[in-house]
């Protein structure tokens, strides 16, 4: 099969075959990252703009390294230094960037739908690096890649995702991705953090973490944003940790060989007890490592994939 998407806006519109194709492509790139000279000429002459309207260390660095290892020219624009502070609209900002002929814009933005918005209005490719509380496709793909690495296959697994479901783009992309690959997805959180109709995306809903992790193959904990504490969603991080934090005792309810994941950055002692964060079951750094390979695959495929080598 060949797969040459113009944009990567979300997982929702990808098929299982397309997802597997991306993961297989990432597999072939992974080895480059461990070489002495970590660079191939694949995207030489291509320009990638990382347009980040929200703070990000991990995702932005990961995309930047991915681009550089493929020999693309990567440029980073962050909101604090951008023209947003001067009142320019997103469309105008994007059109100005496009006038400089980038091949790919990788965007993170606080507004859900902003990457779809951009893709409709620009000629270059757009990769969604997280739009509001909508999707974060590269995260879901690197999560699937990591699960596949540790479990061999995803079909038939039970994956539990716990935390602030309402405000998580990671959850939405992961539900789509894991369902398409044949896993059973459970989500868990306090009722204030579970949005209505989430089950329609194809998951089971739990309000009790112990029940949700029982016999799971994989437990993915989401970062709890401390600013939500004391607002209307949770009374305190202390109480949150008590009922929805993953500690060794709760983890024992999962399968013996269950893996623990987290999109980072982790809050020790809140959603993850330190003993779990440092325990043998966690694969959090594998996720980060795999993120580079997955993003290399996305950049490569969006830029034209196999066609590149034929040119």
């Amino acid at each position: 099969m060949s797969f040459n998407p113009k944009h990567i806006l979300g997982i929702k519109d990808l098929s299982a075959d397309e997802i597997n194709f991306i993961l297989d492509t990432a597999d072939s790139f992974k080895e480059i990252n461990t070489r002495d000279i970590k660079k191939v000429p694949t995207l030489r002459g291509k320009t990638i703009v990382n347009l980040f309207f929200e703070a990000s260390t991990r995702t932005r660095t990961s995309f930047e390294i991915a681009g550089k290892r493929l020999s693309a020219d990567t440029v980073n624009i962050s909101a604090s230094s951008s023209s947003v502070v001067k009142g320019e609209t997103l469309e105008d900002t994007a059109q100005n960037i496009e006038a400089m002929h980038p091949d790919i814009i990788v965007m993170r933005h606080s507004a859900s739908g902003s990457c779809d918005y951009l893709a409709e209005r620009l000629n270059c490719s757009v990769i969604n690096a997280g739009d509001g509380t909508h999707e974060h496709p590269s995260q879901a793909l690197l999560d699937a890649f990591t699960i596949r690495q540790h479990k061999g296959a995803i079909e038939g697994l039970t994956v539990t995702i716990a935390g602030d479901i309402t405000h998580s783009r990671v959850v939405r992309s992961n539900i789509y991705c894991l369902k398409k690959l044949g896993a059973k997805v459970r989500i868990a959180g306090p009722r204030t953090m579970v949005p209505p109709g989430i089950e329609k995306l194809g998951c089971e809903v739990y309000y009790n973490l112990k029940e949700a992790v029982t016999d799971a193959d994989c437990v993915m904990m989401l970062r709890i944003q401390r600013e939500r504490q004391g607002a209307t969603l949770i009374p305190s991080v202390r109480e949150y940790a008590r009922y929805f934090g993953l500690n060794e005792e709760k983890l024992k309810l999962a399968k013996k060989d269950a893996i623990v994941m987290h999109p980072g950055p982790i809050n020790r002692g809140v959603e993850l007890a330190s003993a779990v964060a440092d325990g043998s079951q966690n694969v959090i750094l594998d996720q980060v490592e795999n993120g580079v390979a997955v993003r290399m695959a996305l950049l490569y495929l969006v830029a034209g994939g196999e066609k590149l080598q034929q040119d």
């Binding site: 469309e91 739908g113 779809d116 918005y117 909508h134 939405r172 949005p195 109709g197 329609k200």
Partner: protein, 424 residues
């Protein structure tokens, strides 16, 4: 000056008329309705094959004038009305400055009279500056021409304030138009809360934000004996609350918009900012309830909440796009669609857009009674046409129906006997 509207099917729900008649207009007023009038030497408008009804009355319009003329003004807004077969509109007071004083009221009325293509009945503010703190001078505003009072879009939070507003307005027998919404429950939401908002990752506005506020307003109307008009009901619960209140004898009326009986929150998919409004597009259950409310009489009027916004205010990320859509030029076909779908009889649909909304305002429009001002629309109910942005009279083009096919067209609109719109 005599005009004869000949051979149309005249529908005048207020007078229980539905038959083929001629209408004779003399000096801008209806002089006679009869079969085969021989008026001698006069202008004749052939209405054969057309419906002839009172000009439509839209009691919820934002004209944006004064202050936001880049979106709409009294001239363009009333032209849009005429093009849609609407001859009377009530305009909301959230202009800049707001309509909380006689100067603004008089400006609107005189500009509409001199340059407008429809009758404009201003709605004044309930509170000064729409701040919810001090009552506006409702008596004087009413003398100046205001037909009701509203802090539309900025619902009155304070219970005591709302109580006094209903009481004070009742002194002058004026209705309070409420945008019933508990803003603390809206909490920054951008669309209806439900599975679609969850999927799109947009913050939801739950139905209870509308129901809870509607319930409070109804209780206060019941307590004070004041006249309450609930704007744009959009939920199953608020329709039911009004139904029950009417059964108890509370002085409450309500309206529904075409978008709330035609579209659900599914229309938001693709982050379509022309599907962003407040109250938001709801679920199918709510759409069905609004339709049932129109059919059984619970809902008194179809009103558009015509809310013009500039392209730049809609061509942005969904979360920061302005709320609202234009509606004057699509009111008629969308209302007639309910007849086609057997939700309403033709008479009901005409009543909901003519005499019943006029009754809410207490204005002498919306009928074809002998002696009434000759505000008349000639409708081709079978004419299919496509909504094209460049053909809309409104300055703004923020409609979810751009490109859609409509059935039913106002082919001629008469304002006090004068043709203000004509299209084949």
């Amino acid at each position: 000056m005599k005009i004869l509207v000949k051979s149309g099917r005249v529908i005048d729900p207020a007078n229980k008329i539905d038959e083929k008649l001629d209408i004779l207009i003399v000096d801008g007023k209806i002089a006679e309705l009869a079969a085969n009038i021989d008026a001698g030497d006069c202008e004749v408008i052939n209405a054969a094959g057309l419906l002839v009804t009172p000009g439509l009355v839209d009691i919820h319009v934002h004209l944006r004038d004064p202050g936001q003329e880049y979106k709409e003004d009294i001239i363009s807004g009333t032209r849009a009305a005429a093009a849609g077969g609407v001859t009377s509109i009530a305009c909301m007071p959230n202009t800049s400055p707001v309509n909380d004083n006689l100067a603004v009221t008089k400006y609107i009325i005189s500009k509409a009279r001199e340059q407008g293509s429809a009758n404009v009945f201003p709605i004044g503010c309930v509170t000064k500056g729409m701040k919810g703190e001090i009552l506006s001078e409702m008596g004087e505003l009413q003398e100046g021409g205001c037909v009701g009072f509203s802090d539309d879009g900025l619902p009155i939070k304070d219970g005591e304030m709302m109580r006094r507003a209903l009481e004070y307005a009742a002194t002058f027998d004026a209705p309070i138009f409420t945008h019933a919404e508990d803003l603390s429950l809206v909490a920054g939401g951008a669309m209806n809360e439900g599975s679609v908002s969850t999927e799109l990752g947009l913050k939801g506005i739950p139905w209870v934000a509308e129901d809870a506020a509607t319930a409070r307003e109804i209780m206060l109307a019941e307590f004070t004996g004041g006249r309450l008009h609930v704007c744009h009901v959009s939920t199953k619960g608020s329709v039911e609350l009004v139904r029950q209140a009417k059964a108890r004898g509370v002085r409450v009326t309500c309206e529904a918009t075409p978008h709330h009986f035609m579209l659900t929150d599914e229309a938001v998919r693709g982050y379509n900012t022309n599907a962003k409004m407040n109250p938001p597009l709801r679920s199918q259950v709510d759409v069905d309830a609004v339709r049932a409310g129109l059919a059984d009489g619970t809902i008194d009027a179809i009103a558009t909440d015509h809310a013009p916004h500039h392209r730049d205010e809609k061509n942005v990320e969904f979360a920061i796009a302005m709320n609202g859509i234009i509606g004057l030029e699509t009111l008629l076909p969308l209302s007639l669609k309910l007849v086609g779908e057997k939700v309403l009889s033709l008479t009901q649909a005409i009543a909901l857009t003519t005499c019943r909304p006029a009754d809410i305002l207490g204005i002498d429009r919306g009928t074809l009674s002998v002696g009434a001002v000759a505000d008349i629309v000639l409708i081709n109910p079978n004419k299919e046409w496509t909504v094209k942005a460049e053909e809309l009279q409104s300055k703004s083009k923020n409609s979810p129906w751009i490109g859609a096919t409509m059935k039913g067209l106002a082919v001629k609109t008469l304002l006090a006997g004068k043709v203000v719109h004509s299209r084949d």
